[in-house]
């Protein structure tokens, strides 16, 4: 069954996603559980409007973009390996000058 989550952008990262700050999305059905790593790939294919290299570098996010899972730093949650739960709020904040 689909997994509803809330994705937010801040600090200029929203420019890459059609200038919309809050996205309510349903992640499609998947056999294994969703991790942040899967989410990033999915976002790259489905949400990212332009300049993917400004958001994603390799498998992870570009340095300088802060990822918060339910208000906690993703480094505490296991980074890419974190299993996304239902109704999680995932925030991407660019701390770079000018977004």
């Amino acid at each position: 069954m689909p997994l509803p989550i809330c994705i937010e952008f801040g600090g200029g990262a929203e420019l890459l996603f059609g200038k919309v700050k809050t996205h309510e999305v349903n992640l499609p059905d998947k056999e294994a559980s969703w991790t942040i790593k899967d989410l990033l790939t999915w976002m790259k294919d489905n949400m990212l409007k332009e300049r993917p290299e400004l958001f994603i570098q390799g498998e992870t996010v570009r340095p300088g973009i802060l990822v918060l899972v339910n208000d906690a730093d993703w480094e505490l949650m296991g980074e890419l390996a974190y299993n996304i739960q239902e109704n999680d709020r995932i925030v991407f904040i660019s701390t770079l000058h000018g977004g």
Binding site: G10, G11, G12, E14, L15, E50, R51, L54, P63, G64, L66, L68, N70, D71, A72, D73, L76, V91, I93, T95, L96, H97, G98, G99
Partner: protein, 485 residues
């Protein structure tokens, strides 16, 4: 050590988010207070101008100041803040619509703060005289205020909760906010032309930064502020430090990143957030749900190598991701740098107010650069001199230089031989070399990029003319001067 503690703090607190938020709040507040308290630079009741760009760090700064001044704070901060927003929408060519949205949001942000605030435009810095008149009419406002209200409201707009008077003023400010764009059309046009004539983005960024600094300085002076507080975070300053070094501003690197910037004797620029990383600030804003305004910059959505600063930022943040102590290492190293600050007015750069770093020996890189520049433009220069007929082609470079200066000095002297040129009101156009002489190395690069050096802001040209008159006068009375030694 502190970092390790913070790590442990984070891990412990992650167990319970609420506890974590509490810890984090205490940690941030403590660090902010310590930065201000430790240096003992801000005195009780001092008027401090706080530069607010609307971005994450200035939002956090504003919030921290509000918290610190509120009654519930443990040890209250005791200075009197005034806020200033400098509108730079024009730099990035924002559309009118976007611009208005930004301005409205900034305006509501500033109004909600309850502190006196000002809105002005970057283009104002080109015409400081105009700023004066603009300020004068605003301070008339405040003069009335002063009589009617308590001593605290010395500024254009006052706290909204203070009743009728405040409301009236705010509506006035509202108009002001919308009129802001119309008000300075001329300066705006001039500014656009100047900015457009600078070729590289790095140069533009430098230019904008110099103007912003100058405007803050002038504004603070005229409104009786004795300090300016800026919201630069440690991460930004680490980038600044490396950028300054790579753009030939090594002399200023220490000033630009220190807690207190004392390049101007009468005004101090403070950076109380310099011990914070951008990440901490972002966490803080998220924690307090602070809505910051996104202000695009010249390099927004640009390539990594769009400007030197942008490239440096990518380098530092990339390194920081792998080695978390990168920023603090850069900052600690930067603290050890020191450039002797000159007290003499004439040894400051006319554009960025930094110390002049161009008075170097014969065998320096700068001299070599100057020499090769002279050699490569020799043909042209000699041609001109020949037409004027006051130089032979065989003159050495040194003679060429000195003759050039003398020639210009005559032009500056408004034609009177009695040395009354000090009273001359007309601003004649100084020679390119003369202008460059008053600039530091970094600003010279920017000035050389412009189509015409003489299109530099008015305050620079005035400074150039002033210095020139002074040097001419000094040469005239040289024989009567007593030697210090």
């Amino acid at each position: 050590m502190r970092r390790r503690m913070m790590r442990r703090l984070l891990r412990v607190c992650a167990v319970c988010l609420k506890e974590f938020l509490g810890c984090f709040q205490v940690y941030v507040t403590h660090k902010f207070r310590a930065a201000i308290g430790k240096t003992k630079l801000v005195r009780d009741g001092e008027k401090v101008l706080v530069g607010i760009s609307g971005g994450p760090s200035s939002c956090a700064l504003l919030h921290l100041i509000q918290e610190g001044l509120s009654q519930r704070a443990h040890k209250k901060l005791r200075f009197k803040p005034g806020l200033i927003f400098i509108d730079e929408g024009q730099v990035v060519g924002q559309s009118l619509e976007e611009h208005k949205v930004t301005l409205t949001r900034i305006h509501s942000l500033l109004r909600q703060s309850g502190f006196p605030y000002h809105l002005c435009q970057l283009a104002d810095s080109l015409d400081l005289e105009r700023v004066k008149t603009l300020n004068a009419c605003q301070s008339n406002h405040s003069a009335v205020n002063k009589i009617n209200q308590s001593a605290m409201d010395i500024n254009t707009c006052s706290n909204p909760v203070e009743g009728d008077k405040g409301d009236v003023e705010i509506s006035g400010q509202d108009e002001n906010c919308c009129d802001l764009i119309e008000m300075n059309r001329e300066a705006e046009k001039l500014f656009a032309a100047q900015l457009g004539s600078i070729r590289s983005i790095s140069g533009k960024e430098d230019f904008v930064r110099a103007l912003r600094h100058r405007l803050l300085l002038e504004f603070a002076r005229q409104h009786g502020y004795s300090k300016v507080m800026l919201g630069n975070t440690g991460s930004q300053l680490a980038v600044r430090l490396l950028t300054d070094i790579s753009t030939g501003r090594g002399m200023q690197a220490a000033l630009e990143t220190a807690f207190a910037d004392r390049r101007n004797t009468d005004m101090m620029f403070l950076r109380p957030l310099r011990d914070f990383s951008s990440k901490e600030i972002a966490m803080y804003n998220n924690l307090h749900r602070l809505e910051c305004v996104f202000i695009p910059s010249l390099t927004t959505m640009g390539d990594v190598g769009a400007s030197i600063e942008h490239l440096t930022e990518a380098f530092v943040t990339g390194l920081q991701a792998e080695y978390p102590s990168t920023v603090s290492n850069i900052m600690r190293t930067g603290e050890k740098l020191d450039s002797s600050s000159a007290v003499d007015l004439e040894s400051h750069c006319a554009l960025c107010q930094g110390p002049l770093d161009t008075d170097v020996g014969m065998s320096s890189a700068l001299a070599a650069l100057r020499f090769s520049l002279e050699i490569s433009t020799m043909g042209k220069t000699n041609g001109e001199r020949c037409i004027k007929g006051d130089n032979s082609v065989n003159n050495t470079n040194d003679e060429l230089c000195s003759n050039g200066v003398n020639y210009d000095a005559k032009v500056e002297c408004c034609g009177k031989s009695d040395g009354s040129c000090r009273s001359s009101t007309q601003l004649s156009v100084p020679d390119e070399g003369l202008v460059l002489q008053t600039l530091c190395y970094g600003c010279r690069i920017v000035a050389m990029e412009m189509d015409d050096v003489n299109s530099l802001p008015e305050f620079v040209m005035k400074d150039v003319a002033w210095r020139n008159r002074r040097s001419v006068m000094k040469a005239e009375i040289q024989d009567f001067l007593l030697d210090d030694r």
